[in-house]
Amino acid sequence: MATALASTSTSLVLPQPLPLDSGQSLDGVTIAYETYGELAPDKANAILVFHALTGDQHVASPHPITGKPGWWDRMVGPGKPIDTNRFHVICANVIGGCMGSTGPASPADPSAPDGKPWGMRFPVITLRDMVRAQVALLDALGIGQLHAVVGGSMGGMLALSLAANFPDRAARVLAIATSWRHSAQNIAFHEVGRQAIMADPNWREGDYYGVGKGPDKGLAVARMAAHITYLSEAGLTDKFGRRLQDREAKSFGFDADFQVESYLRHQGIAFTDRFDANSYLYITRAMDYFDLAEEHGGRLADAFAGTTARFCLISFDTDWLYPTAEARAVVHALNAAAAPVSFVELKAPHGHDSFLLEVPALDRVVAGFLNG
């Protein structure tokens, strides 16, 4: 394994209360973030990377719980497409998350360290609230305009939201395998996951912190259902087919006979080691509420009126979660807003997860766009 990239892991408490789309506000918001590469004296070489639903700030440094390499280790680092020899890369845990930024597992009253966690009393947040929090982080770091904001999946939505709501904060916007709103199908899959968590008796209306066991079974099922949406049908067939798991014949029972069952169960269980069930509820809710057109009077092009950024959208031909048509709708809107936009649909066999995996053309487009 490659040696871990030097990173700075830190957190910051926002000096001001964070206003939320719900009308509420959050005091004493903590943002946990990592940085890689030197910030130039003029602070003009910063790239903000937004993570996806179950990602975190460890974009290119080992995960503190699993020990696995960062989730975009292949993309971010010295000499890599997002080159930390040139750029100062910032990646922060979204609010609502569970890796150090304020979320449902955080104490409701930050001034009382022994205070009870928020649980379901945590306010429902939106993707725009997450963006607002990270813009406040940039303010605190003294970074005016980013060289680029980059994200895949939910991270791409956050990047588009930043471009729409804070048009002067990024010179380049790179959104990968993403959409401008959550479709009925997207919401439907998320609702299955949420109901799985809430149906677990250990969920206890979200009040499971300090009890010893949380809704791991429900969270695992949620992850299993979601994981299917990240892969292509052809990819699943390729990887597992109908092959049996460590056995010669079907068991005529309900063990994981098939390799694909075993794989999904493993994915589900492993996920519960590193993710908080309530965070999963809050972040999926935020994604379901996302509709960039609705936020701007129903017309997507109006979301980008007055932008001066250059945009690049990338989709994958096997991604059925956020298919090419969604990226094209964004391109259409950007054309209508006369914004400079590039778009490419890349061929990759892995479905939605292609943005995290080995796709050489993706590396070339990312590097080309950030350096161009």
Partner: protein, 196 residues
């Protein structure tokens, strides 16, 4: 501009500085790059081949992967000062509709195309009885992308039928620019600047 193909060089010479240009079928962006560097043009491209789009993005140009037969509809009216269609008209599903789209999106349009009535083509068909394969049309009939063979005279007729105005035209044989007479015999390809 010495590097450009002669039809692209003509276009590059006659685009007004600082204008907005959409290059339909932009390839690897060679025209856009010249327009941007030499004329401060705000250039955008559309290209069907993702590998070519990738090259555009890598040079810092804005290009959208799309099929001009379908995706030009995504652009608003008069979004550009010029729409450029070089050596692509004869590959369009409906060249007449594409021409209308160009002049909807651009206030003016540059269109270049190979002339199928050039004397070498006529001779090839007349004497050999075979579909011509030439320097400018090097691909056999069964694999060519050129599905709507057009001549200078045909094109002028289409413009008349559609009420399109010719602002200027240029005709070439190889690298050499020709005079305006007998072009339907003599020109290997033509470049038109059009408006409504």
């Amino acid at each position: 501009m010495a590097e450009l193909r002669p039809d692209l060089a003509v276009i590059a010479r006659h685009v007004a500085p600082g204008s907005r240009v959409l290059d339909v079928g932009c390839g690897d962006g060679e025209l856009m790059a010249v327009l941007q560097a030499d004329k401060g043009v705000d250039a955008r491209g559309m290209e069907i081949d993702p590998a070519e789009v990738e090259k555009c993005v890598a040079r810092g140009l804005s290009a959208v992967q799309g099929d001009a037969n379908r995706d030009l509809a995504d652009y608003p009216d008069h979004a550009f000062d010029y729409a450029v269609l070089s050596q692509t008209l004869q590959t369009a599903e409906r060249p007449d509709l594409m021409l209308q789209e160009l002049l909807r999106i651009g206030r003016k349009a540059f269109v270049s195309f190979p002339n199928f009535a050039h004397w070498k083509m006529r001779a090839s068909l007349l004497w050999n009885g075979r579909m011509p394969v030439t320097r400018h049309l090097p691909v056999s009939w069964y694999e060519t992308q050129n599905i709507h063979h057009v001549t200078v005279t045909d094109f002028v007729q289409l413009l008349q039928d559609k009420g399109v105005r010719v602002e200027r035209s240029w005709f070439f044989s190889g690298e050499r620019e020709l005079g305006a007479s007998g072009t339907n015999w003599r020109a290997e390809y033509a470049v038109y600047l059009l408006s409504r």
